[in-house]
Amino acid sequence: MAGGALLTGTAGWLFVVFAGLALAAAIAVVVARSPVHSALYLLLSFLLVACIFILQQAEFVAAVQMLVYAGGIMVLFLFVVMLVNPRTVQTVKSFQHQWDVALLLFPIFLAPFAYVLWTDKLPDIPANPDAFRMVRGKIAGNTEAVAWSLFRDYLLPFEIASIFLLVAMIGAVVLGKRSLEKMD
């Protein structure tokens, strides 16, 4: 259990509250019967995780999380829920028949994670809150620091991500269009 404290005092309690609520919302996503309820709990979970990001001085990532997840992806999900009328897809049982086996296998899945947690061998680096705001030796904002890193050190991955988004967009259009033609 080596390593420095990431948060202390009130911020630590805030983390506990946000993380607990986010986990509760996540459980609600998985067990809710109606897809609309699931989508709304998922939205709550995303917003709470964004709050945790703010506690960790990742303000830009928190803003992206709110805009892309809570704004974009959730609207997409709700659109599809409306498109495939949920009343027609309501099944008698919402879980597959092997769900009890999945619950039994779950502790076995946890074991390697627990092993890694108890043998924590991270280097002891002193906390440096300015690391997320430094741009060329000067204190700027978190967004500027992320932008400098993204557009200089990670320019190629950034371009690959843009190609990926283009491919995903074309794929989504083709898939949606073909099923519409079948419909007519």
Binding site: A22, P35, V49, F53, Q56, V80, S94, L103, F132
Partner: protein, 101 residues
């Protein structure tokens, strides 16, 4: 309350496991997609926590990439959902078994 990296790892592990259980156990294709989003969110939580622990900005940049991938995955997954619903009039993954051997 002092929060260390381990608290973050436990929270993220639980979030990932809930998502994983959702993928394995639910029948509704839409909710399986939502569970995948939960798992990606847990990965982001880990990246941010390690970024803070090691005082390195790279984790934040990578979580932006993960969010990008999640957006693309959601778009394709929802297009597949509509395609599946138009062909089968259902979202139950157990009924989409044409390829069953």
């Amino acid at each position: 309350m002092t929060v260390t990296i381990n608290h973050y790892l436990i929270a993220s592990l639980l979030l990932f496991s809930i998502g994983f259980f959702g993928v394995l156990a639910r029948r509704n294709f839409l909710i399986i997609l939502m569970s995948i989003e939960l798992m990606l969110n847990a990965v982001n939580l880990n990246l941010i926590a390690f970024s803070r622990r090691l005082s390195d900005l790279t984790g934040q940049v990578f979580s932006v990439f993960v969010i990008t991938i999640a957006a693309g995955e959601a778009a394709i997954g929802l297009a597949l959902t509509i395609s599946l619903f138009r062909q089968r009039k259902t979202l139950n993954v157990e009924e989409a078994d044409t390829m069953r051997g």
